[in-house]
């Protein structure tokens, strides 16, 4: 999908440009910021991240697996040690906890990757290296007939550079 990309040097200019684009019903916007800025959260009103579901499922699975593996091992090869039951729940809680943290953490990372669509190893349109430095970027995905209007609006709000990409 083609679009227009703009680089802003100032935060407030970028925020106001995004507000104006939303008002003009340019739907598919991506904002690039060198560091997270909550001002854009308010304007873009994105839904809550789904990473938490990955964390929850990973944690539950890890905890269950941590207990299960040792229950299975204990039943498969019973060892009576220290007067404890063959399946001793209290010491196995350590495994339940550790594996919950392990799998829960890894699931969180995979959740972040899946939701953020990374790793992204191919070149992509709509990005400029300045956006990791000190500039704020706005990428508007739009049809060619509305590209000029979007570019005009971005310039009017103080964009340092505006260009079309496809």
């Amino acid at each position: 999908m083609p679009g227009v990309i703009a680089a802003f040097h100032e935060l407030d200019a970028a925020v106001h440009a995004v507000e104006a684009l939303k008002k003009e019903r340019f739907g598919d916007l991506t904002v690039y910021t060198p560091t997270p800025h909550h001002e854009f959260d308010e304007v873009l009103a994105r839904p809550e991240s789904h990473v938490r579901r990955w964390t929850l499922i990973g944690g539950i699975f890890g905890c269950t697996f941590g207990y299960w593996i040792w229950v299975w091992v204990s039943r498969y090869w019973p060892l009576v040690v220290g007067g404890k039951a063959i399946v001793a729940w209290v010491p196995y809680t350590i495994f339940g906890f550790e594996v919950m943290v392990l799998i829960g953490s890894l699931a969180t990372v995979f959740g972040m990757f899946a939701n953020s669509r990374i790793p992204r190893l191919t070149a992509t349109v709509g990005y400029d290296p300045r956006f990791s430095g000190g500039h704020f970027g706005v990428w508007v995905e739009t049809t060619p007939d509305r590209a000029d209007a979007a570019a005009e609006l971005l310039r009017a709000h103080g964009a340092e550079e505006v260009r079309s990409e496809r």
């Binding site: 100032e10 060198p34 994105r46 350590i94 495994f95 990005y127 990791s132």
Partner: protein
């Protein structure tokens, strides 16, 4: 209309001695300055090559000692009945402990929104990973046949060998491996946006390619930040109880055994406090010279050191309380075994080690009640060396005096480390510092993106009254 962040009021008098979440870096003006100054620290220098050579030499001493030990057998390591745990297990507990401050600073202080964390957390996280990597070597070094270390991992095998899940040594394997994996993941996730910055600034095509791969195509989009922030929060939430659990599990190695001086319910919190304390000591040892060498005094400010020193003082008092509680438990235990053990440890055979820890860990840190000393980097560095020494000896006094003074007189003995023990100990420092020195010249030692969060963004219109954040 959306609110926008505004610069801090310029004329406001800042309280210099109060480090809080509301931190200020008056000498850092722009995002570009952050990138430039932190990336500049990555240029290798002659001094860095010199230190790296020293670290590798130390590692070679350790490797040589280990090769000799494998050839000659574990007897060359100074083990003699009844003391069959010595420098290796002492160093294992020491290095696991060093790792704890890293996660405390990066995860727990993140959840508490402590602003001074930003300056030191990346270094601390890296320290955690390398310290746990070092710690993980010691149980293997301690094995007579180190190539069979994987017997502790439960998996179906033709030998029909299954580890005992009620043994603290097996709990340790799980705790340490989980800790290493989660700490390394936490470090890497925090580095991704910084790798993207370096990818976008790098001129060398090979390094550019490397950073492009490491950054996973990160583009700083609002969608990526949204998921990143949530994932980072959950990782911090997982890492926090993990910090407490890992050293608790390490303490079970001792507390589960029915031995004088070990079989105590205070051990888990005592070990956790000690771990955090020793880690803070190592953070000072690393950060203070690094701050001076890289000329980063305006990033790692005196306020940050002051705040970290206050935390160090608090933890030293917790550790001191744990020592006193141990003495009291020994005295009130009602058995002559415990009482004799404590007498032997404090005034008998091991008095010198006990008094080293009391002076290094409890007496000297009291100097941190003085604000002048808390804000004196040279003193903090000297103190940190004493804390490192004190905490190594703390683990020594936990392990060796118990084994050398069990229930019956025929079980009493001594312990003298050999040159092999010392060689491997020196090698462990070489291993740790080799990785650390390689890290500080390949990856940013401070989180560039997080620093940018702490300085006001550039605005088109001035906000005289301050803006909403």
């Amino acid at each position: 209309m959306a609110t926008t962040a505004a610069p801090f009021p310029s004329g406001e008098e800042l309280r210099p001695n109060v480090a809080s979440a509301d931190v200020h870096f008056p000498a850092i003006k722009t995002y570009e300055q952050v990138d430039e100054e932190i990336i500049n620290t990555l240029r290798p220098s002659l001094a860095w090559f010199g230190l790296l050579t020293l670290a590798i030499l130390a590692l070679l001493i350790g490797a040589g000692s280990w090769i000799y030990q494998i050839y000659a057998g574990l007897g060359v390591a100074g083990y003699a009945p009844p003391v069959m745990w010595g420098v290796y297990i002492v160093s294992f507990v020491f290095w696991v402990g060093i790792g704890h401050a890293g996660t405390l600073i990066s995860a727990i202080l993140y959840l508490f929104r402590a602003g001074f964390r930003t300056s030191i957390y990346r270094v601390s996280e890296a320290m955690t990973v390398f310290a746990v990597m070092t710690a993980g070597l010691f149980p293997i070094l301690h094995l007579g046949r180190p190539w069979k270390f994987f017997y502790l991992i439960p998996y179906p095998n033709w030998r029909l060998i299954w580890p005992n899940p009620k043994s603290p040594l097996v709990w340790d394997v799980f705790a340490i491996l989980t800790y290493l994996t989660v700490s390394a993941t936490f470090l890497y996730i925090g580095l991704i946006p910084d790798f993207a910055i370096m990818r976008d600034r790098e001129k060398n095509p090979i390094r550019k390619r490397l950073f492009a791969t490491l950054s996973l195509g990160w583009r700083n989009s609002d969608k990526e930040w949204r998921h990143f922030a949530r994932a980072y929060l959950f990782l911090a939430a997982f890492a926090t109880p993990l910090v407490l659990s890992v050293h608790s599990v390490v303490s079970f190695d001792f507390a589960m055994a029915n031995m004088p001086g070990w079989h105590e319910t205070i051990f888990p919190p005592y070990f956790v406090a000690g771990a955090i304390y020793s880690g803070l000591g190592m953070v000072f040892t690393i950060v203070i010279p690094m701050r001076k060498y890289f000329k980063l005094e305006h990033y790692i400010t005196l306020n940050d050191l002051d705040a970290a020193a206050k935390m160090c003082l608090f933890v030293s008092m917790v550790v001191g309380l744990a020592y006193l509680t141990e003495f009291q438990m020994g005295y009130l235990a009602g058995t002559s075994f415990e009482q004799e053990y404590w007498w032997n440890r404090t005034f008998g055979q091991w008095w010198w080690a006990e008094w080293i820890i009391l002076i290094c860990n409890c007496v000297l840190p009291m100097s941190l009640f003085s604000q002048k000393l808390r804000r004196n980097p040279a003193w903090l560095f000297i103190l940190s060396i004493f804390i490192n020494i004190g905490m190594w000896f703390e683990r020594f006094t936990i392990i060796v005096p118990t084994l050398s003074h069990e229930f019956e007189p025929w079980q009493w003995g001594g312990y003298r480390p050999t040159w092999v023990d010392m060689g491997i100990l020196i090698g462990s420092f070489g291993w740790f510092f080799m990785w650390f020195l390689l890290f500080i010249k390949q990856m940013p030692t401070m989180a560039m993106t997080e620093f940018k969060e702490l300085i006001p963004a550039r605005m088109a219109k001035s906000h005289a009254g301050g803006g909403a954040h």
